[in-house]
Symmetry: D2
Subunit: 372 residues, 4 copies
Amino acid sequence: MIKAGIMGATGYAGAEVLRLCANHPEFEVAVITSDSEAGQHIADIYPAFRGVYDELVLEPHATDNLLSCDVVFMGVPHKAGMLHAPRLIDAGVTCIDLSADFRFGVAADYEAAYHVQHAAPELLPRSAFGQPETNRAALEALAARRAAGEAVIVGCAGCYVTASILAATPALAAGFVNPEATIVIDAISGVTGAGRKANARTHYCSADESLEAYGLPLHRHQPEIALSYGRTLSAAGMPVAGDAALRPAPAHVVFTPHLAPLKRGILATAYLPVAAGVEIDDAALHAAYASAYGKSSLVATLPQGVWPKTGSVAGTARAHVNASYNVDERMIVAMAAIDNLGKGAAGQAVQCANIVFGLAEDAGLGGVACAS
Amino acid sequence: MIKAGIMGATGYAGAEVLRLCANHPEFEVAVITSDSEAGQHIADIYPAFRGVYDELVLEPHATDNLLSCDVVFMGVPHKAGMLHAPRLIDAGVTCIDLSADFRFGVAADYEAAYHVQHAAPELLPRSAFGQPETNRAALEALAARRAAGEAVIVGCAGCYVTASILAATPALAAGFVNPEATIVIDAISGVTGAGRKANARTHYCSADESLEAYGLPLHRHQPEIALSYGRTLSAAGMPVAGDAALRPAPAHVVFTPHLAPLKRGILATAYLPVAAGVEIDDAALHAAYASAYGKSSLVATLPQGVWPKTGSVAGTARAHVNASYNVDERMIVAMAAIDNLGKGAAGQAVQCANIVFGLAEDAGLGGVACAS
Amino acid sequence: MIKAGIMGATGYAGAEVLRLCANHPEFEVAVITSDSEAGQHIADIYPAFRGVYDELVLEPHATDNLLSCDVVFMGVPHKAGMLHAPRLIDAGVTCIDLSADFRFGVAADYEAAYHVQHAAPELLPRSAFGQPETNRAALEALAARRAAGEAVIVGCAGCYVTASILAATPALAAGFVNPEATIVIDAISGVTGAGRKANARTHYCSADESLEAYGLPLHRHQPEIALSYGRTLSAAGMPVAGDAALRPAPAHVVFTPHLAPLKRGILATAYLPVAAGVEIDDAALHAAYASAYGKSSLVATLPQGVWPKTGSVAGTARAHVNASYNVDERMIVAMAAIDNLGKGAAGQAVQCANIVFGLAEDAGLGGVACAS
Amino acid sequence: MIKAGIMGATGYAGAEVLRLCANHPEFEVAVITSDSEAGQHIADIYPAFRGVYDELVLEPHATDNLLSCDVVFMGVPHKAGMLHAPRLIDAGVTCIDLSADFRFGVAADYEAAYHVQHAAPELLPRSAFGQPETNRAALEALAARRAAGEAVIVGCAGCYVTASILAATPALAAGFVNPEATIVIDAISGVTGAGRKANARTHYCSADESLEAYGLPLHRHQPEIALSYGRTLSAAGMPVAGDAALRPAPAHVVFTPHLAPLKRGILATAYLPVAAGVEIDDAALHAAYASAYGKSSLVATLPQGVWPKTGSVAGTARAHVNASYNVDERMIVAMAAIDNLGKGAAGQAVQCANIVFGLAEDAGLGGVACAS
């Protein structure tokens, strides 16, 4: 068994990693941490773990027990990831970071998006962006380095970014999209996306039976989406600005997140203007998606005319995608449905860890959503 | 009291008109109809009416009792409105039609959108489009004709169209929007929007805890939105195609509706590309909205930076709107929150009837959403 | 107009009184208070009040502006009611107290239930228990005293107690129930019942898609129910212990509240063992209920075989009741559905105030639940 | 692998068996049937199975392919189980019947409860009641017969009955409960309990934000509960009527089911009057529960004072139980939370099949509820 630690195990993402590890064939959770709830049994905080992790007790983040793990899932907020990672890396522990701190290969990009100096830029060369379906080669390269004895870091993509990337990447990669036009992404999230902290917005009586937008005009995850789209456009040979080979310019993206009354799920709808001269139809568009995800056991392109439902992937690491072509307006409308925790945060972290440890990508992630 | 009839009173929109009339100072419901449930007490179908309308029994649509009403609210599907209206108009009964049949002043526009020949084009000259905040003058003109003894028709705007119009019209009317660019409208609706018919999609266990899109690539309400936007752009002096004075061309619109797990509410988010040469900021944008709705007691422009929540208007005829300017992408992101029945279908019908009968526009519509 | 103040207007119950007063023909809200949020506009806290109470600003509880009101609704927790009431009564202001402090005519009963000494026992003689359907005569007596110039106090029944009383009283009053047997009350509440405070239990992601019980083994509202039942049994001539005429013993009651994922609603199911020698059937039982509530415009006895749904009264001051007789076990199963705020807390407070001010009991309370 | 068939795989219970088998180490689903939807891909009906069972196509119930299975899960309504079982048993196929038809060892008991003659009474001797925690020995006896070559039948307990049994059995078995007194069971269920058929009650807009009771005065599952309780009381040496050794009389039970707005979950609250002369306290009561379920990996007795939440077991085959003693009324209030499909119908069927096939009782049932 591979010995795993989870930092921030009382947060929603950390707790979801813990849940997934309960049925994982290789990862065995030995250490869980929380500074604010250290000393408590996790089953007293989350009764769902009663009968599953009855004996597991939270330790403070500083516990040395993390240093004897093979892998640590870091369910911590941004700015915390880069503070904790060096100690773990020094001890030879591979880090699967759920914070934003290692999502950008370039410190300046991180700093521009999060308005804070990167505290551990020396670790960036041993990191990769954790979105397996669109960055599998980089993760496999990391796996090779880890196998050779190096402690490595995965900067896992967050939930909105994952959904936005899964929705749009096949169209972008196929060269269908106008690189100069503005891409609109309208996303709807369940309330777990707002985190475990109880406040006025997450109160049941505020969120229930209501819909609202938030984070306008510029949500902090917009840059991650724009950079990913820019890379894909550049790789597809579409003329984007910037140093195309190394660091392509971000795409033009307007991103608006919405909150809806459900616990888990993100549905991202991307509106992609088709490039001049490109002639496609629904069949060609669908074929591009089916081909792009053909090797991904956790991403299904739905049949033509069937649109993704988040309920069909809730509680799982799976994603459903599809796209439609509006011929009058020359606009691709592409969608992805994921569970924001099951795939977006925690499930993808386990998926990345699987790759980095040379396991089947979907090991422990075979869960199927409740059909009803 | 003004004697009112409601056709299709067992449908969600018809039942909502009935609910609103229970506290209306002037409209007294004397007749309710349903072909499929004629003979039943409405309180046996909707227990919410127990103690309110205990004696009211459904009659078939063909009942002559409708002919002695002053006004009939027609909660019927499209194609039914234009079949029933002539009989009522002949009897001198003013019609408030919730179907699509009298929303288009021009029969050809209706026929293009709904793929059916208009059955009563001779009545179109005595009709007006029922969206009071943006078409008040036409409804007041109808009121004058009704006062002079003419039976008139209001073709009430539907729920998606109302939300889309309320969200975008102030920006369009202010000349901020590029008339050649594609406007994206991404809307989220509660399940009442799918109607009372029980089917796989409206089953609790399908809709609950899930998000999905539907109606792609071209939802049947897209033409109504595009025509309304086109009229507003034209009136604002923006160069649109078509016969600008009489029948401006529709705007470029991509409209995607989504279904979310709540009963009532539509949140429409409109992405409006700013015209070249126009320089605005958030303050100017907000001022345009506040000014546009300053005289509308039922539409509130929220303070800058506060985004509409459907829960804040649920069960009411009110609307909350606001807009944000994304300066990097030169994109206005505008939003409107309504109750799809309380405002979108039924409440707006009562509001239109109020105007046509010379009452205060908001008579009987003073209900306030549950704050919690 | 009658000048009204609302203490604790930011709590759910206080805000609901404010909502109801927006459409009340006589009560005009002039003052709202909150110590923790004084100085804020109520419309900034509850956007549902935007366009309705745009100018209303919260003052501290100590404001002298309360003293010039005709009536003050006290939406405060228990122990606060009896501290604030004397100042208001001294100023001649009639108090409609939503706290528990004036629900018991006898200080000792209050002290036994709430484990605290009563701070204003001298005011108890000018108070009455605020449950109009079962205590209307006492409230009308208070109205006469108020009309004669005395400031009076109503100690409004809470939500669970109201539902439990409405469900069981007709059977108790008819002499059907064994006064020595234990009555089980199993109640289910929506989340507004847990109050506005954001905490782990009221977090959307805890309450959504889950059911739980709480407050075992002895919920603090059990004594209020048991005392009310005891009084009714005694009045019905059933042999209960205690000083039957003045202060009958409480009935035997086991009360278990549950939390379910909805905002508003309480469904109370009472299991009432039938007294030896009593022979009833469903028709006789139904007749007792219909008769008991025949004069109550806000309480409807449903047809035989139709069971109350909270959704049918949500957002209103109405109640739906019904009962069934299990002949094998000689057990009456009686139910009441209310909105815990619309009737249980705030709506009933307005109803009591209506009676005390000599208005129609249901003035301003004509709202009808959304049929869908 | 053990070759499995699922009859009625499009019903909620059948689909849940299919879901569970996707991660089962031994059961491999080879055949799924539905008469009304034969010929369709299951992934077209339930998109959650996309990427999991892409090739699986529904066959009619009469398919001979069922006859080559080792085990068939029969997700069919009552009366259908006893019609299909003989053909399967003749072919040597072990039947795990989710219908009511083999839950009663005695045909007369079935006939009294379901008002229909038993069609296959000759099969009853090779059947056992499928509630593992309280009938494990009988299921293990069946396993021995199956291992010896006999095709056997499990008549799986339904969801309400399972929750009611789990809540009350430890108290009944400990001799705490008065066998002559009436036991009240008040249960709340999610909407999946009402089945997949779309109708007025299961429409989202009827079930959402509402609570209601149904099935009064005598729900058809009451007899199964009363018989199970009677057997347990008798086994505990409590003096019940009937032929105590072979066929004890049913206990006195009033059972009221309620519907609440969630998809999955049953919370059963049982009110058990304590027998005269029995002296218990909360610690003794808790100890009885902890001891009763100490060997059941899927049932957890929560710590004293912590009450079961259905959300903590949603999507799983787990159950959470606890009990409280109301000393004033000498009443035990006992609760069980289960997922009505995950445990109540489908999960328990898999658990029974595990036992009958000699596997670990919880094989394939290790899923953990989403903590958030």
